[in-house]
Each structure stands twice: as structure tokens, then as C-alpha cells.
Subunit: 347 residues, 2 copies
DNA sequence: ATAATTAATGCACACGTTTGCATTAATGTT
DNA sequence: AACATTAATGCAAACGTGTGCATTAATTAT
């Protein structure tokens, strides 16, 4: 297939290529008549501008970079990040951009993709769906002109002052989940966190602790346990801590996968959920219709999350409201189903 | 951040920019000494070439386009397409390319992204993870020089002659699944397909029919039912066809989601799986550890699928083995778990 | 010692756009 | 009718690379 250039299209139209360029970009300098003629011709020949040439001249690429980690925990990441990515792609394309989706670091060389995309001028802006940001990347982001929005966390340090972010409130979610257990009548509650991993779990734990404190619950022994986020670890935690089960009446699992792992183990041990021990998960993975008891959990509003972040980024790229910071922490939603049921009159 | 150009780097090095360019591209014209000096300087300044300028001159963008449909069925698509996408991204970055991941058509304008990416020269090659290809796209692909590999299907018509494809063998999977039921002793088997949707289900049905034929099983009544692919439809099919259940002893559900929906319904009706009715799914979604009975199903080799397709595409882009077609239909794997157990001595 | 060959580097153009400026055509003003 | 103004278009330069060709420096051959 022969791909037309703007000069060739101009020759066909009997015009100078600059007139064609201006027509395609809807310049007020061009008369409506020729503009229409050019547009019709472009349509007829399926003409598309060369993105590289365009990008070199205008410094705009028409593509947005999405930095997103690998899906490592098969199930949870696929569910959460996968559907978030889906929404992001939709919003990006809807606004006539393409999406370059990269890992934070090249898996082979370990080099930063953020730096690379910015310096090679391959993107107009960045959506960052990452847990951590090292100093070098932070420096690059800060010193470059490329706009970005963080979707996953307010990074540690003094970073967050001037950056745009939209992310779900894990503290609030942790608080709500714990309060749900409390309202269900539980008083001896533990939580399963993941200490050395992601900040979001620390926030969930903080919400857990504050809810207990606000309700005046004092527990002498340790009530937060370090359990990795997967079905298997949730399952084996229960199996390996049977004695503990006699002392508790509620579990905030911090992850749906851990929650259902724990529930399966308790089923095998003859412990009834929620009668003996109530369980609250987190994430709202898509198993509601077939996992029994149906999981009481926290839902994170992914579509809106994606929508707000994209909208802001594109505003920045196109220089509207460039001054106004978006710093939004999204309220999660408590979904009460079967594994923890709030008693009447506890509100 | 000030982004260096090659000319500025050349000035720092006290060289002409063409010498720097040749050094970075490891040209034999340049002495090892200056080459080393330039590389060191580039490293020191974190220098990266402008991708647009480079692309304009060389016609190479360093990005691969992945055309992938939206994740519409939440669970199954997220599982299957999500993990496939993950593997593709990994392979692409491993080879120092970036990935533009687009829908087949722009969700707003309906325009073809295949045509757009090719004509705007935004990609060096395309990986097509799509069910259908309309004539316009086919024409564009065929007439353009941009290499591509199909990962999802051998498209209908006379297309497939000269194109590269790697995809899982749905016919064989359907055959294997059916044979598994037969070996388990089932003789009155039905299958749940999705008629008006994707070709892959037609292939699974074809495998189903052929297996029955090869085993000499004759069934007078209709044995293939049109059931959409989701838990809910699997569930309601069983609930609405209770009379049918007395006449059958095996179900090839063609989708794990349909399979578990059907099994849940049968559980409620007091029908034992696999004792009364054995069930075989398809896809191997990641629920093995918590759905009971553990699902006997067909696994599709996603990592290898991604690896082979990427490898071939990059070979084509970089002009190695450009002549050799890759036309591979990947053998699926039968996973025998609990919902259908093969009896001894049936091999 | 000079010419011929080879190795290394510099010069200048091209890739396909956009855009400031110059030019031409059309219209309005005196 | 001559001039000033406005509208529409054309011309040419620039964006940052890569590369053919010319040039210079270094080496070898005579």
C-alpha cells in the first residue's frame, strides 16, 4: 500500500501542502470552500498524517503512556489491574489518543521506562499505576514538562505537594471493613496484612487500628498478622493457627483472595462463617455469584477512577485548567453480603 | 529537564553529530576509541534519541501494536486475555520494543485502529488478538508492508494462505474434552456452545461432534445447545432444562464459567458431579483451588503462545527469516481434576 | 620523498510535517 | 481610478535524526 504524504495529497488537490496542512488542522486562515474540498479528498484517500513528522514538529505524539506493573498475583492483579487497564484504555481511545502500556522498568535491562518514554518523546503524558517511585524517576518526572497523574498512591516523602493524583482510599476502606465487623457484633477481630509489601496494606491496617480505637476496643495480644496475598496463604494461615480461632470472632482479610482461602480452611475445620467467625475481604473480585458464603467486601470504583485520571491528564496535555491540581482520594464502597452481616440497630 | 539532542551531545564531545549518530548505532566506520567515548558520554548524560526524528528517518518506531478487543465478559476475558496480554507485554519489552495496545476500532468514532496505526506509521508491526477481521482491515494489512501475526484465529475466507498465525487449537480441545467424558464412561453427552458468537466455539463444537462420531456414539436428539458464556447463563440453562438432566450423563460446557454455573445449579438440584453428570470446562481459569468439585478442563498455553508470536513478529520486523511462514496451531492440554474423572483401562 | 591506499571524521541533505512570513487576489475606501 | 485593507494561498525554514559523499589524516607502497 502506498501511503500518501501531505505533499502528494496537495498535488492531487492542486494546492500547496501548507494549505492542506492548515485545512486538516482547521486553521482560520483557510477558506471554508477549500477546507471542505481538502477534507473530502483526505476522506476519500483515507489519508492519515505521519505521526513521527507531526510529533517532531509539534512535540505532540497523540499517545499516552500507562506505567503498570506486571500482573504477578494471578488472580487479584488480573481482576483489579486488568479491569482498571481496560477502563483506562477505553478512556484514552475515546479521547483519540493511543496507549503505550509499559512496565515501570524494562524486565531485561532494568532501565526506567518512565525516563525512556519521556526522553525519547514517545508520549504526551503519563498515567502511573505503580506502588513505588524511585528517586531517579521522581527527578525525571519533576524536571520534565511531561504531565502525569498518579493512580495508585501518594508516594512517600514530600513528593505529593504538587502532583496530581486519584486513588482509592485504603485507610477509609480498612476503617469501613473493620466497622462492618464491629457492627456485626464482633469484638475479637484480627486482620491479615502484608507487611513488607505495598503501602496500600499499611493503610488498610491503619484503618483497622483506628476503627478499633474509635470503638473503644482494646485487645491485649497482637491482632495484625503478616500473611501474603493469595488463596493459599489465607488457607494455610488458618490451618496453622487453629488455636487462635477459638479466641476470635472476626477477620478483616485485607484481600478477597486471602478471605476466601481462610473461609475454605474454616469450612474444612467445621467453623461456620459468619456465625462463628465473620470475614470481610477487600477488592470485590468477580466471584460473588459462585463462592459461598458470598463475600462481604470493599469495592473500589475502577471505572470512575480511570475516568477522572484520564480526564485530568488530557486537560493538562491540552493545556486546559493546567493550574488546577486534582488530588482526589476515592471513597470505597462497602458491600455487605453473607460472610459478615451487620446486625440491626447498630448504626 | 532539558532534553539533549544528538547535536548538543556532539558539541560536548567535540565531534560532528553524524559521528555521534554512527557511534550510537555501532557503525564500523567509527574508531573504537571515539565510539567508547561517545557511549560513555551518552550514558553519563542519560542521553536518549528522539524517537520521532529517528522514526522519520529510519521508518522504525520501536513500538509494536497489539490489537485486542475489550474485556467484555468480565471474568473469562480478564483471565484469558489479561494473562495473554501480560505475556505479550513481557515479550515485547524484553526485546526492547514498546507496546501500543489498542482496540480494533476506536470506541467513539468506530474507525479502524489497524489502518490508523499503519498509516500514521506508529508501529513496526502488529499482533492481532481479534476474532474477526473486516475486509477493509484485511486489505490494509495485505497491501501494507507492516508485518503482522494473528494470535486468535485463522480468519475466514481465503485469507490464511500467506499469513503468519499462532493460535490454540479449539477443534482439538473440543475433541479432547469430549473424549475425556467418553473415557469417563459417559454416553449421553451434551455440549453448550455459543452459536452466533465467536468462531472458536464453532470449532469446539466440531471437535465435540467428531469425537462422538469417532467413538460411534449416535444420539437422536439435539445435543448442542446455544448458551451464552457466563456463570449466569450456565446456571439458568440447567434450571430451565431439568427434564433434560434425566437423559444425560455428561456436559462439555465449552467455557469454565458456563461449567461452574451449571455445576452450581446441579448442586442445588441435588445432582452429583461427576457421579450423576460429569462436566468438562474450557480455558482453565484460575479457580482450581477454591471451586469444588475441582474443574476438569482444557488449558491453553498462553505464555508459549505469546512467546512464539512475538518472536516471529520481531524476526519479520528485523528482516530475519522473513520468508519463512509461521503457521502454528497450538495443542491444548487436558487437565483432569474432579468434575470428570477418566476410568482406568479406557485408553 | 612522493604517490596511492585506507581509516576516520565532517558536511549537507532528506524524511514529512507545521508555521512565520511573503505574496497574490479580492474587496473596500477615498 | 488609485490606494489601503483584508483574505487566501504559497514559500521556505525548522524539528532531530541517519547516511551518501567529500574531505582530511594516517598508513602503506613505490
Amino acid at each position: 500500500m502506498f501511503i500518501l504524504t501531505i505533499k502528494e495529497l496537495a498535488k492531487i488537490a492542486g494546492l500547496n501542502h501548507s494549505t492542506v496542512s492548515r485545512s486538516l488542522n482547521d486553521s482560520p486562515l483557510i477558506s471554508d470552500e477549500t477546507k471542505q474540498r481538502v477534507l473530502k479528498l483526505a476522506e476519500e484517500y483515507n489519508f492519515e498524517l505521519n505521526a513521527n513528522a507531526r510529533g517532531m514538529r509539534t512535540r505532540k505524539t497523540g499517545t499516552i503512556g500507562v506505567i503498570m506493573q506486571e500482573f504477578d498475583d494471578k488472580f487479584r492483579d488480573l481482576q483489579y489491574l486488568g479491569s482498571l487497564m481496560n477502563s483506562l484504555r477505553y478512556r484514552i481511545e475515546e479521547n483519540q489518543y493511543d496507549s503505550i502500556i509499559n512496565f515501570p522498568k524494562n524486565p531485561k535491562t532494568g532501565k526506567s521506562n518512565i525516563r525512556k518514554l519521556i526522553q525519547q518523546r514517545k508520549v504526551d503524558g503519563l498515567l502511573l499505576v505503580i506502588q513505588q517511585l524511585d528517586d531517579d524517576d521522581w527527578k525525571v518526572l519533576n524536571e520534565s514538562e511531561v504531565p502525569f497523574v498518579s493512580l495508585h498512591y501518594k508516594w512517600p516523602g514530600n513528593y505529593q505537594e504538587n502532583i496530581n493524583y486519584v486513588y482509592p482510599d485504603n485507610y477509609r476502606g480498612g476503617y469501613m471493613a473493620t466497622e462492618c465487623l464491629l457492627k456485626a457484633g464482633c469484638r475479637k477481630i484480627i486482620s491479615l496484612t502484608e507487611v513488607y509489601a505495598k503501602d496500600e496494606f499499611q493503610e488498610r491496617s491503619r484503618g483497622f487500628r483506628d476503627a478499633l480505637k474509635d470503638w473503644g476496643i482494646v485487645q491485649n495480644r497482637e491482632n495484625i498478622f503478616n500473611v501474603k496475598s493469595s488463596f493459599e496463604f489465607g488457607y494455610s494461615f488458618i490451618m496453622e493457627n487453629r488455636r487462635l480461632l477459638e479466641e476470635i470472632d472476626g477477620i478483616f482479610a485485607q484481600t478477597d483472595m486471602k478471605a476466601i482461602g481462610a473461609i475454605e480452611a474454616m469450612k474444612e475445620l467445621g467453623i461456620k462463617v459468619p456465625e462463628n467467625i465473620a470475614v470481610v475481604g477487600y477488592d470485590d473480585i468477580d466471584i460473588d455469584y459462585f463462592f459461598k458464603p458470598r463475600l462481604t467486601t470493599i469495592h473500589q470504583p475502577r471505572e470512575r477512577h480511570a475516568e477522572i485520571a484520564c480526564k485530568k491528564l488530557i486537560e493538562m496535555i491540552e493545556n486546559n485548567n493546567a493550574d488546577k491540581l486534582v488530588q482526589m482520594i476515592m471513597e470505597p464502597e462497602m458491600l455487605i453480603r453473607e460472610s459478615c452481616v451487620v446486625k440491626e440497630g447498630t448504626e
